[in-house]
Symmetry: C2
Subunit: 211 residues, 2 copies
Amino acid sequence: MPVKFNQSDLEQLEQRFRTALINNLHGYKPLTLVGTQSKEGRDNLAVFSSLFHLGANPALIGMVVRPDVSPRHTLTNIRDTGLFSLSHVSASQAKQAHQTSARYPEEISEFDACGFDRYFTESSPIPAVSGSPVKIWCSLQQEIPLTQNGTHLIIAAITHLEVEEKMLREDGSLDYTAVDLVACGGLDTYYTGERLFQLTYAKPDRQPEER
Amino acid sequence: MPVKFNQSDLEQLEQRFRTALINNLHGYKPLTLVGTQSKEGRDNLAVFSSLFHLGANPALIGMVVRPDVSPRHTLTNIRDTGLFSLSHVSASQAKQAHQTSARYPEEISEFDACGFDRYFTESSPIPAVSGSPVKIWCSLQQEIPLTQNGTHLIIAAITHLEVEEKMLREDGSLDYTAVDLVACGGLDTYYTGERLFQLTYAKPDRQPEER
């Protein structure tokens, strides 16, 4: 049986229930740690689940930042330096990643407070997370403020990336289960994946096949 | 061991390998079927994995539409009527959902071609997918064209939703595993989730606990 909610039902829901429901509503989200650095050289790490694909060539990625709930240091640092790193989260790192959402004072780095080691590549001053199976370094292309609710869309170019060899398949796709990659539901629920199948390119005159 | 790619490596990759790599790069994506209707009343169904959360109050959702690869009928219909439905996909529906990405001619509805039954609610003329565990009806708020690569961001308000009772938890969150909800990797790989844990709100002075 379905449970139904219209707009007026949603408005009347208890606030925490509504927040949980709507945040869970669109399904599995990718989970990543965003690394940034302030003008003064202090680094910051914050968990995000709002990453989305924008294009493969040029390689572009989008991200939603909510100034009211996300650690504001991330947005400030991205604006100041134009740079950030993304470190995806394995199951063994999920609780530490969640802990980065606590409101630490600006002078405390979540790398230290949450027990993550910094990982540097020669091509960027921004640290990623050591042990993360997918590390991506990005440069800010555009910031789009949304008038509806004060969120900001970050559009960024991928400048450098590193993926664990064991998850990289021959066709360029990544097997998330090989590194226990974590998905997020809403704000506080964590999942690992179980691979169902990879399907052939869909054509009108035939059914998709597992490949 | 990590495999490394810089911007120049990415540009030189074989096109299909690069497309797969970059499309897989940000991790698990939600999977949904977008239902629309043309001005003439013909319906259309297309699989999308680019949904993202924008806000709980008002309930807002974002979606990326690529006019060059997504079925263009979806964008045209959303512009014409301002309305669309979202039907999330269970494991048993994943192959059918993938098949909606085949390029059917405009006069053929993917509901019929891919074997999905239409589900109507009294509050919208747009059909959703019968048997889908999460059905959402949306109204277009804003379309943002991105100059970088011709993609369009769709910002929409949630006007009505239905979720399977067995996945709705007391706190308003949804248990995706109760309905075998599917996540997507890249363009062609499908996963189900395994629930790790739900954690308490993060505070600087304590570690998160399972709840």
